[in-house]
């Protein structure tokens, strides 16, 4: 294979990996600054490369759209991962994050991280995927989400609203006080 096309394939791989969704040729060409014709050739070469035994990914090509996905033979893998992830009991770290969200939600990620002292991106996403936590955009700040316990969670632990959590008042006030005492610097 030509050097040039190898280079383009590597760029397409990185781009589609990150993008996740189906992407059309035109957009790929524009993002990479490469003519659409060359993109098409490279995608077709990339697709045959992915057929190799040591590759776990494949391309779904639909008219002018292309998406990088796992090979169909790994269809059950996602289910296995989720089972593995979900069967695990909540770690103390997960429980701590969940408690913060339940007792002081709606609360932003920055605020949760301020309380925990640790980056919480992964933990929050994990709790969201399990359906324990919901998020919604903050009406006051752009690009900020507020996290709170999901209705399913409340039902599961047998209460109908967050205010019914044991000692809700005390903890909620404790956290509110924290924001008052430590104004943003």
């Amino acid at each position: 294979m030509e050097e040039q096309i190898k280079k383009i394939i590597s760029q397409i791989e990185a781009l589609l990996f990150l993008y996740g969704e189906p992407m059309n040729y035109k957009k790929i060409a524009k993002t990479l600054g490469i003519p659409e014709g060359e993109i098409k050739t490279a995608i077709s070469a990339f697709s045959s490369e992915l057929a190799a035994e040591n590759r776990g990914l494949s391309l779904i090509i639909n008219q002018d759209q292309v998406q990088l996905v796992t090979k169909p033979e790994f269809g059950k893998l996602l289910e296995d991962i989720v089972k593995e992830e979900v069967n695990e009991t909540l770690t103390s770290v997960a429980l701590e994050t969940l408690a913060i969200v339940a007792y002081s939600g709606p609360i932003s990620r920055a605020e949760i991280e301020y309380i925990r002292g640790v980056n919480s991106t992964f933990m929050l996403r994990n709790l969201m995927i399990r359906g324990l936590v919901d998020r919604q955009p903050d009406p006051k700040r752009s690009n900020v989400y507020l996290y709170r316990s999901s209705l399913e969670l409340l039902k599961f632990i047998g209460i109908s609203k967050t205010e019914d959590l044991p000692e809700y008042q005390r903890f909620n006030e404790l956290v509110k006080k924290l924001w008052h005492e430590q104004p943003s610097s």
């Binding site: 990996f17 990150l18 996740g20 996602l78 991962i81 989720v82 992830e85 979900v86 695990e88 009991t89 909540l90 103390s92 429980l95 701590e96 969940l98 408690a99 913060i100 339940a102 007792y103 932003s108 920055a110 605020e111 301020y114 309380i115 925990r116 002292g117 992964f122 996403r125 994990n126 995927i129 399990r130 359906g131 324990l132 999901s150 399913e152 969670l153 599961f156 632990i157 047998g158 209460i159 959590l165 044991p166 000692e167 903890f171 404790l174 956290v175 924290l178 924001w179 005492e181 430590q182 943003s184 610097s185």
Partner: protein
């Protein structure tokens, strides 16, 4: 909300010390450290009012070591304990390492600025659009409230520790006060006399106090010869 911590903006005592040494284009040796002791103490004095006690304390720790070095340079017959000798060696070694790590920090800075970053996919991106509920079967209300109890401890930890270290600063001020009072009654003191039978750490603080007062011309000092006692005299300006 922006939770950037203010302490980030301050340069630490070792950084300052290195700056002073570099200004004079000197190497990191005990002799040269004695040389910049005065400058370091001046700097400490200047930032004293604007700086948090916690940060000041870090400076005072280094200052006390510098004064030890300076004392030895001024009073060669001053006997140092093994610990103190180690402390001096230690400061040299730490400065050298610290200096090296400025290069390491530069490496990281250059890598970060190059923008050659790797990116990854979010956790289980394929599940993003599904709405599912996978509760851990054993999760109970009491688990949450127990975690909330621990949360209360966490919240306490966030508030900065009470300023224990402030005592170190107060001590210097106390010593200054003590010296000033002595000058109310007599015009001249011998360093040896004043510091006699005091623990060495206190002598060091005394020395720091003397240098403070010297800077403000509240006192003058006189040393007849290299191995002689230091005479502390009331300065030309009124003491209060």
């Amino acid at each position: 909300m922006n939770y950037t911590i203010k302490t980030e903006l301050f340069s630490g005592p070792l950084e300052k010390l290195l700056e002073l040494i570099e200004e004079k284009k000197m190497e990191i040796t005990a002799m040269n450290l004695a040389e910049v002791t005065g400058d370091f103490l001046n700097y400490l004095k200047n930032i004293q009012e604007k700086t948090e006690p916690g940060i000041l304390a870090d400076f005072v720790v280094v200052a006390s070591k510098l004064i030890l070095i300076k004392s030895k340079a001024l009073l060669p017959n001053l006997e140092l304990t093994k610990d103190e000798e180690t402390e001096i060696k230690d400061l040299e070694a730490r400065l050298t390492i610290y200096n090296e790590f400025r290069i390491a920090a530069q490496h990281i800075k250059e890598l970060a600025e190059k923008g050659a970053r790797s990116y990854s996919k979010p956790l289980l991106a394929a599940l993003e659009k599904q709405r599912v509920f996978y509760p851990p079967q054993e999760l109970k209300l009491s688990d949450l409230s127990r975690a909330a109890l621990n949360l209360a401890d966490l919240l306490k930890k966030i508030v900065p520790e009470p300023q224990k270290i402030k005592s170190a600063i107060i001590t210097i001020e106390q010593k200054i006060e003590e010296l000033l009072q002595r000058f109310q009654t007599a015009a001249e003191h011998s360093f040896k006399e004043v510091t006699m039978s005091r623990p060495k750490t206190e002598i060091v603080i005394f020395f720091l106090a003397i240098l403070h007062l010297l800077k403000d011309r509240i006192i003058d000092i006189e040393q007849k010869g290299q191995f002689e006692d230091i005479l502390i005299k009331r300065g030309e300006q009124p003491t209060q």
